[in-house]
């Protein structure tokens, strides 16, 4: 076996790309549609607050982030994903991808199997779905089976999922009628600032790595403005690689509806960018990117999707920390590392994700904790520093509390330039974190604009 790692193939063997870049062809496809449907945000089943917009899934599918998935899943595929986390073509995939509509909208649309439906976004043509199957779901059942239960998945599920879990709420809030079929974007959206400069769909990211001469790339998943602990995680994890540390460090921020208390997406991407603009990591070695997805906070399940997205983007490695993409204590705090280290049989993955047939090629770099050690006077790795009584953790709630009180954080917590990015967006939104007002306004604005298209 050679010592050098090569860029992995996309998951499934080839990149899915379902974006029509020729507007005339797009118009032609739109004209052949049987019905028109205006995409609406999914609203919380109790509060009515937006929790998801399916447009983000259509974007991520059509630009290949979720390869090999090509559209909204058929019933048999949904069942297989829920039972074994596999698509019908055998490839591992963690989450149901569904185009859901209400009974009223279904009746009004009057579509049948074989029809093409034009999907409009912000009032303009955006994509089409070629309907291959129409079926119904029980949203609560899908929600619970998606994340698992303590009885069915005792290896890692610690508490039953409920309405306090934002991912469970997304599936619970879905409409009952599913239109299954492939999506095609027919009117290419333009990302709006500041997201436009971080838009690297898999083909473009692979080209960018080649341009930069990156053979090995480690990905850092984020939904946070980076504090110094995150920065140390990135720098330290990047020492892995093959015969040398990873050539590139990629940050991939999940952009979409987030829970109250998370930072606004604009501050997240610009906060990470500031790490290289202010020189803490050389910009030549650091690439900030985004993926559109309303985060499900599914810890091990979410980590599978993260692995797929980043393998499709061309990364060789992925860092996973404790409580990866987690909220609350529904899962074991090391559930993701268990999945990548030995597998979770009850989720259909009896061995590490890289060792099962049709699994992933991207390599996990499971990391423990970073804390500030006043004895070492540095950010220390828990696997090294033995001053456990003196350690000071980067508690997310502590950091949020400090920010909310307007205390200028010390340099050992936030780089001053990064903190000022938080303040920049705080001044714009009147709030340093996601709140209901931010979510509602953002879900009207979204992250894209669409060109006019006369149909």
């Amino acid at each position: 076996m050679g010592l050098l790692f090569e860029r992995p193939l996309p998951h499934g063997g080839r990149l899915v790309e379902r974006v029509v870049t020729d507007p005339e062809l797009g118009k032609k496809m739109a004209k052949g549609c049987k019905a028109i449907y205006d995409i609406k945000p999914t609203l919380h089943y109790e509060t009515g607050v937006p929790v998801r917009n399916v447009y983000r899934e259509i974007m991520s599918i059509c630009y290949g982030f979720f390869s090999p998935v090509e559209g909204s899943m058929k019933k048999a595929e949904l069942e297989r994903v829920l039972k074994e986390r596999r698509l019908l073509n055998e490839w591992i995939f963690p989450y149901p991808m569904l185009f859901d509509i209400s009974e009223e909208d279904y009746k009004e649309l009057g579509v049948e199997v074989g029809d093409r439906v034009l999907l409009r976004l912000k009032g303009k043509p955006f994509a089409v779905i070629d309907v291959e199957e129409i079926y119904r779901i029980n949203p609560e059942e899908v929600a619970t089976r998606t994340f698992g239960t303590p009885e069915d998945n005792p290896e890692v599920v610690r508490e039953p999922f409920d309405k306090k879990h934002p991912g469970w709420v997304i599936y619970r809030s879905m409409n009952p009628v599913i239109l299954a079929g492939k999506y095609t974007i027919i009117n290419e959206p333009k990302l709006i600032p500041p997201f436009d400069r971080f838009w690297y769909p898999p083909r473009k990211s692979r080209e960018e790595y080649a341009k930069r001469g990156w053979r090995t790339v480690i990905n850092h998943q984020t939904r946070n403005v980076p504090h110094v602990g995150h920065e140390m995680l990135m720098k330290t994890a990047a020492y892995t690689g093959d015969i040398e540390p990873c050539n590139g460090i990629q940050v991939n921020a999940i952009i979409g509806v987030k829970r109250r208390g998370d930072y606004p997406d604009e501050a997240i991407v610009e906060g990470h960018e500031m790490v290289h603009l202010a020189g803490y990591i050389k910009p030549e070695r650091h690439l900030v990117t985004i993926c559109l997805w309303d985060m499900r906070y599914g810890n091990p399940i979410e980590s599978l999707l993260h692995g797929i997205i980043r393998q499709n983007m061309g990364c060789t490695h992925h860092m996973f920390g404790r409580d990866h993409a987690a909220v609350g204590e529904y899962y074991d705090m090391y559930a993701t590392q268990i999945l990548w280290g030995k597998g979770i049989p009850s989720f259909g993955i009896p061995k590490p994700v890289n060792e099962v047939p049709y699994g992933l090629q991207i390599r996990a770099q499971n990391m423990a904790e970073f804390w500030y050690c006043p004895h070492c006077r540095e950010i220390a790795y828990s696997g090294c520093c033995n001053h456990t009584k003196e350690k000071q953790k980067f508690s997310g709630s502590f950091v949020r509390g400090m920010v909310a009180e307007g205390v200028f954080p010390p340099k050992v917590i936030f780089r001053p330039e990064v903190y000022k990015v938080i303040v920049k967006w705080w001044k714009k939104f009147g709030y340093p974190f996601c709140n209901e007002k931010y979510v509602k306004e953002k879900e009207e604005r979204l992250e894209v604009e669409l060109p006019d298209m006369e149909v």
Binding site: R260, F398, G406, V412, I413, K424, P432
Partner: protein
């Protein structure tokens, strides 16, 4: 183990407790880069906080966090006023419950940003390395 609320101390707050016995309770965080008061909450006060503010929780340090900023502000005011972190200060905080809740409701919509100069980062952002 009793849980506590950590009140961060900026210069203004440090001055407000200077020379009092509360000053002796100041703890260093992050190698002395931050100063704080860890105010222990008796069981009854903790119960009141958890019920009054549904976002509040206990973190891995044993700290009661995610409480409204207004709660921390009033807690500090009463500690400074009473020159004590004891029961009398906590009772005074609870007696201002309506005031805290009213301020907390407004906080869900708006928090005043700190008045700091951010022109240096705006200058850096004028020449992004990654371009659209």
């Amino acid at each position: 183990m009793a849980h506590f609320v950590a009140i961060l101390l900026d210069d203004k707050r440090l001055n407000a407790i200077k020379g009092t016995e509360v000053e002796e309770k100041i703890v260093d965080l992050f190698g002395g880069e931050l100063k704080a008061l860890n105010i222990e909450m008796p069981e009854e006060a903790e119960k009141w906080i958890m019920e009054a503010f549904t976002s509040s929780r206990i973190d891995t340090r044993g700290a009661i966090t995610d409480v409204p900023v207004a709660f921390n502000r009033i807690l500090f005011e009463e500690v400074a006023k009473h020159k004590s972190m004891g029961k009398e200060a906590l009772d005074a905080v609870i007696s201002r419950a309506d005031e805290i809740k009213e301020a907390a409701a407004k906080e869900a919509e708006y928090l005043p940003p700190p008045d700091i100069d951010i022109s240096d980062v705006e200058e850096l952002q004028k020449s992004p390395y990654q371009k659209p």
